[in-house]
């Protein structure tokens, strides 16, 4: 069986913005049913790598295989793949004109083609899962940042994705709201979801990740299980980074 089935595999990914090479020959396996955390200083290319996993950014070179499908091949129906790869953003990006319920139910109706009643039923169940019972009729702007991010997580989970991508999901939250969102992510990791998580939350990476990736200047510097990576950093660059953030 292809080792990338159910997971994500990046092979020799290169991506530049102008003259800056943000991803420089990245090869990485994100195994299924495991949480992979990417850490590194800002500008190291970690968010760009994550955004390549559903082709929000298209690499100039290399192959990306998602759940057994080579998405970088020409002619691949990327919409169908995206519907199976959930993504949560730093700034939530909820649909401002829709209620909380419709935010979650919209793609179920338009992409999954579920009837409205069924879509809403599933949306309500997902909102319950993230602790937002009773807020279905509210507008996103009436919610706290933490609640908005939980709506965004419910919106992604409602599509029953095979893989979840988190792009600094707690970085825009007030400190007291971070905990609730991390708890949901932790539960999700524990439930066996395949997750690729770009984060500054070192404690989360240590506790929830199966492997941690340290990136700097568009390259992967170290890949290891969290205990090894945090307690026995091999490279001076990682040592220096950990000294700064821990």
């Amino acid at each position: 069986m292809d080792p990338s089935t159910g997971g994500v595999r990046f092979e020799h990914i290169v991506k530049s913005f102008g003259s800056v090479k943000v991803l420089d020959d990245i090869t990485l396996d994100v195994p299924r049913a495991m949480t992979t955390c990417i850490i590194g200083p800002s500008g190291s290319g970690k968010s760009t790598l994550l955004r390549c996993a559903n082709l929000l950014e298209r690499p100039e070179a290399g192959r990306i295989i998602v759940d057994g499908i080579t998405i970088t091949d020409p002619g691949v129906n990327i919409d169908a793949i995206r519907a199976r790869v959930g993504m949560v953003f730093q700034h939530f990006h909820l649909f401002g004109h829709l209620s909380v319920l419709d935010n979650v139910a919209l793609a179920l109706r338009k992409v999954r083609r579920l009837p409205r009643a069924e879509a809403e039923e599933r949306a309500i169940a997902k909102l319950n899962d993230v602790g937002l019972r009773g807020l279905e009729r509210r507008r996103p702007t009436d919610l706290s940042g933490g609640q908005q991010q939980r709506v965004a997580i419910a919106r992604a989970l409602a599509m029953e994705p095979a893989i979840m991508l988190f792009d600094e999901a707690t970085s825009a939250l007030d400190p007291e709201l971070v905990k609730g969102v991390l708890a949901i992510m932790r539960d999700l990791a524990a439930s066996g979801m395949t997750m690729l998580v770009v984060t500054h939350e070192m404690r989360f990476a240590r506790e929830a990740a199966g492997q941690v990736i340290f990136m700097d200047h568009g390259k992967i510097i170290e890949t290891a299980p969290p205990a090894t990576l945090f307690d026995h950093p091999q490279s001076p660059r990682l040592q220096q980074f950990l000294d700064q953030v821990l």
């Binding site: 559903n54 929000l56 919409d79 169908a80 995206r82 519907a83 199976r84 790869v85 959930g86 993504m87 953003f89 700034h91 990006h93 909820l94 649909f95 401002g96 004109h97 919209l106 793609a107 338009k110 992409v111 507008r139 702007t141 009436d142 965004a152 919106r155 992604a156 599509m159």
Partner: protein, 243 residues
């Protein structure tokens, strides 16, 4: 001095003439002007939205074509476009509406308004945050679905006040259709006033029409301003939960 003032009063404010022309202004001119403005606006909205989507398209030939349309129709004097379409189409054998001048007038103004509204819509569509578009795409929605369900509903909502402002301009713009020679029952406010002014060799009927235009446009302008203020305050979450 007094004689001069009296002449001005007689030329522009002849009460007797104003009262005489008022009934036909209100009964015929006002509905015709209003319906014409409404029709032209509807045509303008449909064309404007299509052109706006073309303007922001990543397909270069399409966006250039739409840019061309906007530049031409905003660059020409309205009077010239109305002549070209209202007189030109029937002359060229494109008698879409037979000899119904009113319909050509609505089409001509609608095409012009489409160009102005395209720019208003474009600003609205582009004001929708890129992140929401990315979120929709990551959920598997196609470009078209994202446009239809995410961008257009929010983009239009944000430009409703300037769009209404544009409607006020259309009301004034309809005055130009007198050029096309409307039948008696089709005449708008300005045509009726102008005919009456010529027949009586006195400008007071135009003053009467002016009063009606002002009665339409000034309250609407204030209403739009108040609406815009409220939309801005609506960004305050406390104001919204109170609803």
């Amino acid at each position: 001095m007094l004689k001069g003032l009296l002449r001005i009063q007689q030329t522009f404010f002849d009460l007797h003439l104003i009262l005489r022309v008022m009934p036909s202004l209100l009964r015929v001119g006002l509905p015709n002007t209003f319906i014409l403005a409404l029709l032209a606006t509807l045509i303008g909205i449909v064309i404007g939205l299509i052109i706006a989507i073309g303007l922001i398209s990543s397909r270069r030939p399409l966006s250039l074509l739409c840019r061309f349309y906007v530049d031409i129709l905003r660059g020409l004097p309205h009077i010239l476009t109305i002549y070209l379409i209202g007189q030109g189409l029937p002359l060229a054998g494109l008698s879409l509406f037979g000899d119904d001048t009113y319909a050509y007038a609505a089409l001509a103004i609608g095409l012009i308004e489409g160009a102005y509204m395209a720019e208003i819509f474009r600003a609205g569509l582009q004001s929708v945050e890129r992140g929401q578009i990315e979120a929709a795409r990551t959920l598997g929605m196609s470009r078209a679905q994202t446009m239809l369900f995410i961008v257009i509903p929010q983009g239009i909502r944000r430009v409703l006040p300037p769009l209404t402002g544009q409607f006020i301009l259309v009301i004034k713009g309809t005055a130009l259709v007198f050029l096309l020679g409307l039948t008696a029952s089709q005449r708008d406010l300005f045509s009726i006033a102008q005919d009456s002014a010529i027949n009586n060799a006195n400008l007071s009927p135009l003053t009467a029409a002016g009063l009606i235009y002002l009665a339409l446009t000034v309250p609407m302008t204030y209403a739009v301003n108040a609406w815009e203020r409220r939309l801005r305050l609506g960004a305050n979450p406390r104001a919204r939960t109170a609803l």
